[in-house]
């Protein structure tokens, strides 16, 4: 390895999380540990009806019988589940008077990510209404949705206001028995989003968690439920490329999506949580269960850009139950320093003529470990099921690891399942070529990585894609000198 390459790699490893942590958020918390009383307390604090509490308790009792999964290609430190605070309601942060009061470093990050000013203000905690014109974006947004009959609110609110919908759909795709972390989430989930798009309605705008009412403080056990009724369409954006201020180390979220007949859902995520420092200290452990159920002719598309967290354990999946339904998974997962990611998808073909497509792009730098884990299952009755999977790995340096664990389980002879995989490195020749045209090594790496991830980035909504591109470059950035 040439010196230059080594210097580059060291620089990339030094490109530390630019956003740091702030701890100026007052929270109302209960003590550490978990038992039935804690769950009762959570339910009470949230003003939940009895049926919700019963569900939580049932999940908790089941969770007690389960063990944390160990099959992933991850080194997970022992987590003491009695040493965690399970309820912390964020108190409203002190509103800042103007953008001038915002930490300049944070502002610089916003600017580099190209986040619009209004959004910057909201994220930084500036009282948006005070600065903006009379009609706030949020209000307009809410009115537009209400006209179409679209429900978009916090899950806590939904439990109270729309109990029929919640009872019908919550846990219908990811039951509490599903896995250890899903059970834990079902017992203690703090908050999250609920979205219902009625029959035949096309949601006229990208739904972003940023716009959600009561968007602040979803906590570490986030629960999302998204229902697109027959013939509906919605594109949903989760997260944000902007800094995530978060002090919880363990995250166990659940996302459930129901795509009814002829409906279509696009779900995009950019995950940029604290990955730990360059020596591997700290960082979020992210254990997420995401799954969608597709009825007849339905279509579900997952797109994710994962650059954060110390540990990522996440497999957004599609259950293609209805005939002619389509599932898609597009993923870019980047790991640096001591990050570990074990991520991928499951495509479960149940209906006839179901189709799925998987495009996974892993990028590993530093001493990180990046695994793709995928399962394509074709059930007996899934005549003419089709799957195409493409898993690419890009290595930066020679101390990181890329792994692929594809499983194909086909029980129908008419199914066609294809799997392609490649592993490549950013070559010295490519860097030299870019340098020779005047680009710095940092810019060259950003360019090459974005080129590599292009197919996935193209699936993100336009503005999100631009931010994600910059995020990929920033996450690899150091000061080349």
């Amino acid at each position: 390895m040439a010196d230059k390459d080594r210097v580059l790699i060291e620089d990339i490893e030094r490109g530390e999380y630019k956003y740091g942590f702030t701890s100026d958020i007052d929270t109302e918390t209960i003590g550490r540990g978990l038992d039935e009383d804690v769950i009762r307390l959570i339910s009470e604090k949230k003003g939940e009806p009895e049926w919700m509490l019963e569900r939580r308790l049932k999940a908790y009792r089941h969770w007690l019988t389960m063990k944390a999964p160990t099959w992933a290609h991850l080194t997970i430190p022992d987590i003491d589940f009695q040493d965690i605070i399970y309820y912390a309601a964020p108190k409203p942060r002190k509103k800042l008077g103007s953008m001038d009061e915002v930490d300049p470093e944070l502002k610089r990050t916003f600017d580099r990510l190209g986040i619009p000013l209004e959004e910057q203000m909201a994220l930084a905690g500036v009282a948006v209404d005070a600065v903006m014109d009379s009609v706030s974006v949020k209000t307009t947004f809410r009115e537009t949705l209400a006209e179409k009959g679209i429900i978009f609110c916090s899950i806590s609110e939904a439990v109270r206001e729309y109990p029929d919908l919640v009872q019908r759909y919550l846990g219908s795709v990811v039951p509490y028995t599903d896995n250890f972390y899903a059970a834990l989430n079902a017992a203690v989930f703090s908050d999250g989003s609920f979205c219902y798009v009625p029959k035949g309605v096309r949601c006229p705008m990208e739904l972003s968690t940023y716009f959600r009412i009561n968007a602040e403080g979803t906590g570490q056990f986030e629960r999302t439920l998204l229902v697109a009724d027959e013939g509906a369409y919605v594109s949903y954006l989760e997260g944000c490329t902007a800094p995530r201020r978060d002090e919880n180390q363990l995250h166990a979220a659940v996302v459930e999506i129901v795509v009814e007949r002829d409906a279509e859902v696009k779900y995009s995520t950019v995950q940029n949580w604290y990955p730990g420092d360059k020596d591997g200290r700290g960082g979020i452990y992210n254990f997420v269960t995401k799954r969608g159920l597709c009825r007849e002719n339905a279509r579900l598309s997952w797109t994710q850009v994962e650059t954060g967290s110390a540990i990522t354990w996440k497999y957004p999946s599609c259950v293609l139950q209805g005939d002619n339904s389509v599932g898609e998974f597009y993923s870019v997962a980047m790991t640096n320093n001591f990050q570990q990611a074990d991520t991928g998808t499951k495509m479960i073909h149940v209906g006839r003529n179901t189709r799925s497509r998987i495009v996974s792009k892993g990028i590993s730098a530093g001493v990180s470990q990046n695994s793709y884990r995928g399962m394509v299952r074709v059930a007996k009755g899934a005549d003419n099921a089709r799957n195409y999977s493409q898993c690419d790995s890009l290595l930066i340096g020679d101390r990181c690891g890329a792994h692929t664990f594809p499983v194909i389980d086909s029980r129908n002879a008419s199914a066609v399942v294809e799997h392609e995989a490649t592993t490549s490195k950013i070559s010295e020749e490519q860097l030299f070529y870019c340098n020779q045209r005047g680009l710095s090594t940092e810019d060259a790496v950003g360019l090459i990585v974005n080129g590599y991830a292009k197919e996935v980035l193209a699936k993100l909504p336009m503005e999100f894609a631009v931010e994600a591109q910059k995020l990929l470059a920033i996450s690899l950035e150091g000061s080349v000198g």
């Binding site: 040439a2 010196d3 230059k4 390459d5 070559s427 010295e428 020749e429 490519q430 030299f432 070529y433 870019c434 340098n435 020779q436 045209r437 005047g438 680009l439 710095s440 090594t441 810019d443 360019l447 090459i448 974005n450 080129g451 590599y452 991830a453 292009k454 197919e455």
Partner: protein, 250 residues
Amino acid sequence: MLSVKNLHASVEGKEILRGIDLEVRAGEVHAIMGPNGSGKSTLASVLAGNPKYTVTEGSVEFLGRDLLGLPVEERACMGLFLGFQYPVEIPGVTMANFMKMAVNEQRRYRGEEPLKAGEFLRLMREKSAVVELDSKLTNRAVNEGFSGGEKKKNEIFQMAMLDPKLAVLDETDSGLDIDALRIVATGVTKLHTDDNATVVITHYQRLLDYIVPDVVHVLYKGRIIYSGDKTLAQKLEREGYDWLINDYRE
């Protein structure tokens, strides 16, 4: 413009350049010829700053600055261009995007404003015409799936876009058919002015029918053993290198 003195360079401990002296002035075209393995491509790579090679002795001055002390990208921004013998592919990155970054990076170095999208597109259309490059190629990924001829045309297209002070073209003629050779060579000639200079590295006289050199150098075993005017190239074409290199055999 370029002043190379007693340049020694090695790769993986093996010495390839063993004392090169070369003076190139503005407005000149130099041709460097020589048998395989004599160090021609190494010279081009070392001037551009390829990290694979280690300079062990000697100095290079470019536009009054110590070239060897500068990083690759700064040499490029100063106006040193290398036309690659084997241009690399960069999947997913379009030529247009790549060139936009490069052009604007070099402009920034010179303290100029970046080009606006419209200006850039105009520049790209104008320059792709110089080498009759199919404008569709600029929407494709850098060199990906380009034919041999397209890759070489693409190198000269980039040269046209970046408008360098000194262009070092490493076997830009290899692998080209007669028509492509004419187009590439004419392109290079069109770009030549009194203010810039070109060093062409080639095996064959045929390129020099189009690009008429002021000086022809013969490189052998890491040294320039003979220099002459354009007639030297013709003589080499007829008689080969034997008459020159006999004295240098070890």
